[in-house]
């Protein structure tokens, strides 16, 4: 129990301190673009009504979820294939590195051309950024599976499917999860960016519109909400990570 309380204090400690600092530092502010934190917090409840949650926040998160899930599925599937088939790896590696180097915001006008301006475009933008870390990390993970483990699988004639599911995938999973974590951070950013072009609703869209119409406290409240959303997603991810990779984390602590 004490351990949990201590942990909670550690986790919430720094943010609370920063929040308090911000509060007092901005208390008497008359600057238009840096209003007092108290005003932003007051604005928070007024701005983020149930209707806004339904019409802006939830659709954004849903699009992020769809794009992220698609990236995970495609990234792992393609990564497994490319990682296991040697000539495929050598053939695609330069193309993949090229594609991953192009920043997605630059691609948005191009994506708009063939994906239109609706939800499809936004999900496509998210995928265009999230796919690469997952794909490339999966390839790296697959290629770094211990050859002795693969020999064992071959010697016992486990078969391609079982080798893939029981050995390659779990063996590569630490790297895959790393890729998925990177992709999550990228996904949140792209969720906002995709809504800066040709959008009609969304969290990022709302923040940008607040800025455009000089509703600055509301804009800040949106930014705060976005930050909290990112933190919440990271926390959820950490739980999933611990569940899936508990053997990995325990092995590393117990071996060392």
């Amino acid at each position: 129990m004490i351990v949990l309380v201590r942990k909670a204090l550690l986790v919430l400690g720094l943010p609370s301190v920063l929040f308090a600092l911000w509060w007092f530092a901005s208390a008497g502010s008359t600057s238009f673009y840096f209003p007092p934190l108290s005003e932003i917090v007051a604005e928070f409840g007024e701005t983020w009504t149930a209707e806004r949650w339904r019409e802006d926040v939830l659709p954004s998160v849903a699009r992020l979820g769809a794009g992220y899930a698609a990236s995970c599925a495609a990234g792992v599937a393609l990564g497994l294939l490319i990682g296991r088939v040697r000539w495929l790896f050598h053939a695609t590696e330069p193309v993949l590195e090229f594609a991953r180097a192009v920043p997605p915001p630059v691609l948005v006008p191009v994506i708009m051309l063939f994906a239109g301006i609706g939800d499809g475009m936004k999900v496509a933008v998210i995928i265009s950024g999230c796919l690469w870390p997952i794909l490339l990390n999966t390839v790296a993970g697959v290629r770094s599976v211990d050859p002795v483990q693969l020999d064992t699988a071959a010697a016992y004639r486990l078969g391609r499917f079982r080798t893939l599911t029981a050995i390659v995938l779990p063996g590569a999973s630490p790297r895959i999860v790393t890729g998925m974590r990177q992709a999550l951070a990228i996904g949140v950013i792209l969720m906002v960016i995709s809504e800066m072009f040709a959008a009609q609703s969304g969290l990022g869209f709302a923040i940008v519109q607040f800025q455009r119409s000089y509703a600055i406290p509301a804009m800040w409240s949106g930014i705060l909400l976005l930050g909290c959303l990112g933190a919440a997603l990271a926390a959820v991810f950490a739980c999933v990570d611990r569940a899936v990779l508990h053997w990995y984390h325990r092995q590393r602590t117990e071996e060392a």
Binding site: K7, L10, V11, L14, P15, L18, W22, S31, F32, Y33, F34, P109, M112, L113, G116, I117, G118, F197, A198, A199, Q200, Q209, Q211, R212, S213, Y214, A215, I216, M219, W220, I223, L224, L226, G227, C228, G230, A231, A234, A235, F237, A238, C239, R242
Partner: protein, 319 residues
């Protein structure tokens, strides 16, 4: 896990701080009697008079050295002026009304650009593809219409066009699309109509598009579309500079009105518009004075559409 949470909180704060514009000091170095002013403009047709004025020495004659900074859009210029990064800026009237009604102390110092006031021959219109079933403004009532900024001059004036044509504007699906992306989005069919200003209007026409509504003409007679502005602080601190600047702008506007070919030529120096389009596009009007009635009309239209949180004070905004 705690690392990740702390990290995410810090990132959120960092993003927040970067997102707000940095406040820099203004630069008005007094160089032996010559004032250097920074002016934020958008590299579009509308600001040709300023470039002409610099070229013709109208500012120099009044001991002003102009440093032009090109910005993406009004959204970047107004904060820039408010933060004193620019001394003067160029922005559309509705944006300025929005800023003023939100408490930003902005003041118009000179006219910028106006509608020609002639239907069929203005520098901005609502365009549709050649084969579109939309024929008149009223047909826009159930369409998706692209505008460059939501809750701004585009959608408020277009709603007026629809109203005047007997249609109901409450269900129009306005979508924000940057002007340069409009030709492509229109031909791809992702939007039913697009409000485009020059040169994009001519580009759409070159692809076969046609206009269905002249929203600048419909909103008010001789509509003032955009103006040059500054902060109340500058106009109080240095009224002489502001006055000289306005005079220089007025002279530039007059010159632009008298020399339309010079306008087309100078466009080639600060934009990438190709020569054919430059020769064909419709130029806006450059009257020397702001049309006060049209500004009030825009305030009314904006209030009717509910874009202002508080009613704007038109007198405080106008010189």
């Amino acid at each position: 896990m705690r690392r990740q949470l702390a990290h995410a909180s810090m990132s959120a704060l960092a993003i927040a701080m970067v997102a707000a514009t940095a406040a820099c000091g203004g630069d008005e170095s007094d160089d032996g009697g010559v004032d250097t002013v920074s002016v934020g403009v958008i590299p579009i047709v509308d600001v040709a008079p300023v470039y002409l004025g610099i070229e013709q020495g109208f500012f120099e004659a009044r001991d002003i050295e102009v440093e032009l900074t090109e910005a993406q859009g009004g959204a970047a210029i107004v904060p820039g002026v408010a933060a004193q990064e620019f001394d003067f800026g160029f922005s559309n009237i509705t944006s300025l009304l929005l800023a003023q009604s939100s408490g930003l102390p902005v003041e118009i110092v000179a006219n910028g650009v106006a509608s020609t006031g002639v239907e069929g021959e203005d520098f901005g219109a609502v365009m549709v593809p050649a084969d579109s079933p939309i024929q008149t403004a009223a047909d826009l009532a159930t369409a998706t219409v692209a505008v460059n900024t939501l809750n701004n001059i585009g959608d408020t004036t277009i709603r007026e066009s629809v109203r005047l044509d007997g249609g109901d504007p409450s269900d129009i699906g306005f979508t924000e699309v940057a002007f340069p992306d409009m030709p492509a989005q229109l031909s791809a069919g992702n939007v039913d109509a697009a409000w485009a200003v020059e040169p994009f209007k001519s580009m759409i026409e070159a692809e076969g598009g046609r206009p269905v509504a002249w929203n600048y003409v419909d909103a008010a007679p001789d509509l003032t579309v955009a103006a040059y502005f500054t902060t109340s602080q500058l106009s109080q601190e240095d009224p002489d500079l502001v006055e000289r600047f306005s005079e220089a702008i007025a002279e530039s506007l007059q010159y632009a009105t008298d020399n339309p070919d010079a306008v087309r030529d100078i466009l080639g120096t600060y934009t990438d518009i190709n020569p054919d389009i430059r020769a064909a596009l419709t130029l806006p009007a450059f009257p020397a004075e702001v049309n006060r009635d049209s500004v009030e009309r825009l305030a009314e239209l904006g209030e009717a559409d509910g874009i202002f949180e508080n009613p704007p004070d038109v007198d405080a905004l106008l010189p």
